[in-house]
């Protein structure tokens, strides 16, 4: 880097070398180390301006602004999160399932009871009629035979 380049870059980026493009930082440090009058004058002028710029400080962020921005953010949408198996099966689900199973079980027990009574010959008359009605099918067939 020559002196003209240094002055041009100081004009643009100021005296704080960390604000300079990285590729020039090392070369600038080397030129500064040479203690040349033109380089020193450019640094002096740029430093005065940089110090003035740095005096421009701003009031800190107010808490109310911070809070209002955070409050404007989206809230967690729980419907998007797939619930676990145990979260899905709440008490209503369990009641529904258990009543279904209970009804089925009661039906099965009742059916077994009737079958056991029927096969033991303890069926009452009215129930025996059910057996006759099944025989009615045979009567119907018999009628057909009479027609022929």
């Amino acid at each position: 880097m020559n002196i003209e380049q240094f002055i041009k870059l100081t004009d643009a980026y100021g005296v704080t070398i960390k604000h300079w493009p990285e590729i020039y930082q090392q070369q600038a440090q080397e030129l500064i180390a040479l203690n040349l009058s033109e380089v020193n004058e450019a640094i002096k002028q740029a430093r005065i301006l940089d110090e003035m710029f740095s005096s421009h400080t701003l009031a800190p962020v107010e808490r109310t602004l911070f809070d209002s921005i955070v409050a404007s953010a989206p809230k967690a949408d729980n419907s998007r999160v797939k619930p676990s198996f145990w979260q899905q099966w709440n008490i209503k689900s369990w009641l529904g399932v258990s009543s279904f199973i209970g009804t089925g079980l009661a039906g099965a027990i009742a059916g077994a009871f009737f079958v056991s009574i029927w096969t033991s010959g303890l069926l009452p008359e009215s129930i025996d009629g059910v057996s006759e009605s099944s025989g009615a099918m045979g009567q119907y067939v018999d009628i057909g035979q009479e027609w022929s």
Binding site: K8, L9, D11, A12, Y13, G14, H19, P21, E22, Q45, A46, I48, L49, D50, M52, F53, S55, H56, T57, L58, A59, P60, V61, L65, F66, S68, I69, V70, S72, A73, P74, K75, A76, D77, R80
Partner: protein, 189 residues
Amino acid sequence: MNELDPDAELLPRIARGDQSAIQEIVVKKLSRLLALGMRMLNDRGEAEDVAQETFLRVWKHAEYWQSGGAKFDTWLHKVALNLCYDRLRTRKDYSDKDYSDEDAPELIDPTLTPEQRLDKSQQGDVISAALAILPNRQREALVLQYYQELSNIEAADLMGVSVDALESLLSRARRNMRALLAEQGVHKA
């Protein structure tokens, strides 16, 4: 964590409404955005509005953010700058003309002595007023490079100019600031 973009991992969490990620991004970025708005607009109320609007865009776009493109901080600056320009364009005195000495208004009370003029707090006000007088593009270049500490490449990219053009804008901005401040007796030209 994404090494290229330290903010990228926060965005999917923000999209899910993760309050800790939301607070983290506001803590990290709000003062920077407010400073950008303040220096571009020279109006605290408008700067706060710009910061709020910018975060609304963040909430809206977080779900669609894709790593690998522009850095989040660069995108954030772009959004905030666009909002600043929207506001600047509505001002009666909006212009992209370069500053000329004839246009220079009084930045500080002319009745003050030189010693009073060099008071630090007053100096901050003078800088603020001088920044407001600079042409928009020069001010933008100075604010992005000096105050926001963006790299020359990031600043040039944001402004849509080459690095050479950015350096030219920066040189003119500093020269104009020096002249403005010298006129006010704050800086020896």
